[in-house]
Amino acid sequence: MAEAEAKLHTIKCTQCAAPLTLKGGHQVRSITCGYCGSVLDTKEEFKVVKQYLDRKRPPSVLELGMTGKIHGVEFTIIGVVQFQDDEYARWLEFLLFSPTHGYAWLEDDAGHFIFTRRVRDLPDKPVSAQRKSSFKARRHTFKVLEEYTISISYVEGELTWVAEVGDKVRLLDAIDPPFIYTVEKTGTEEEYSIGEYLQPEAVHEAFSIDFEPKKRYTVHPAQPYIPNPMLVAMSQAGKYFAPLALVIVIYAFFFGSGETLLRGSVTPVQFIAGAQSAPFEVKNKDSLLALHLSSPLKNAWAWFDVTVRNEQREIFSLSKQISYYSGYSGGEHWSEGSQSTRAYFKVPAAGKYTLLVTGEGGTGSRGTKPQQKALNVTVKEGVIVSRYFVILLALTMTAFLWRYIMRWRFEARRWETDEDDDD
């Protein structure tokens, strides 16, 4: 009985006598011999209706006769069609057959796999070819990707129609990843199908392909975004720490400017001779003090030596430069330097202190006479420097957002088309 069944499913090519196995059920309309390229009409006593010579079988990890389980249904690959679009991009569509579930397609497009079945779920409204216009079908909201024309460039095995190289089909694709809805127009006929993106690993496992899937260099329109687990973990952790760092930075900004202990100004004549400030009282020896120097210099520089003293001795001494230059040359404005500077310090004990400010300066690049601009001096106590939390905020915010940036880039690539590339 088994032998009889096997005989029933095997014929000889009526052109070259090569053995051809029929696995595709009653709806198979043609079989293309893989040896001689003859297309045989199964409804006409396997009459040769076409022959394609010097054909090269397109490479794929899938082959005719392979069997594999997709969504729990065992399918056999019975035929293959290679399509190409106007830009000569090519992909393969394998016709699958299950005795219990009928026909389906498995597309292999540069390492992307789409499992597609014909459906009778029509769109809820007439489908417009306008990009990103939406419609509903089978509980999904699809967005139109593009409409384009494809043609057949290779056929082999069993198909449910007599396919000829060069046959053209007009397609409209709409996506709701991982699903893709396709309207296929041939003449006056329209057919509808829904495809689902399958991860290459799942396809390899289903068809017992024992090597790793090839790397995908493109994003398929129906490909779901699967974030890198490390990015997800970083984002999850960043979600808690970025707001914390932000709150601390904001707190430091509003409440970390400190209490003003001294505010005064010194003229150039005074700082050349050495100017002593009014005394100021530091309340807490551990609190950070900020010395702020500013002067509205223009195309001038000034150096200041500032010495912090208590009644007995010098506590602290620092030098700071203020220089600011600007101009217009080569058709552009330029500036460099700053009209202010800042320094932080601490004192060894609470108590009264004074500043001794001496300075020198010049204008332009060679001048040695200070510009006649006063130096403003401010001392504040209890200053909070937030730079470490700013760095923490930058790191944790990046960690939190990186996942979304990657997703945004992925989605942008999904919607890229040749049309965009031409722009």
């Binding site: 490390m230 997800v232 999850q236 952790a237 720490f241 220089s323 230059y325 760095i391």
Partner: protein, 55 residues
């Protein structure tokens, strides 16, 4: 698991930032007695041409 690792890492970074901020590490000016060199604008020497004019 990986999320926990990053929580520990960010937690350690937060504690470090808190410690560095509270102890004002790296923000204080070193005390020096006198500046060693006078500096004007390096950039503007070429743009303004101050030195060249003096030649």
């Amino acid at each position: 698991m990986m999320t926990k690792i990053f929580i520990v890492v960010f937690g350690a970074m937060t504690l470090t930032a808190t410690y560095l901020t509270a102890t004002d590490v790296g923000v204080m000016e070193p005390s020096i007695k006198k500046h060693s060199v006078r500096q004007g604008s390096v950039y503007s020497r070429s743009r303004v041409g101050g030195y060249r004019r003096g030649k």
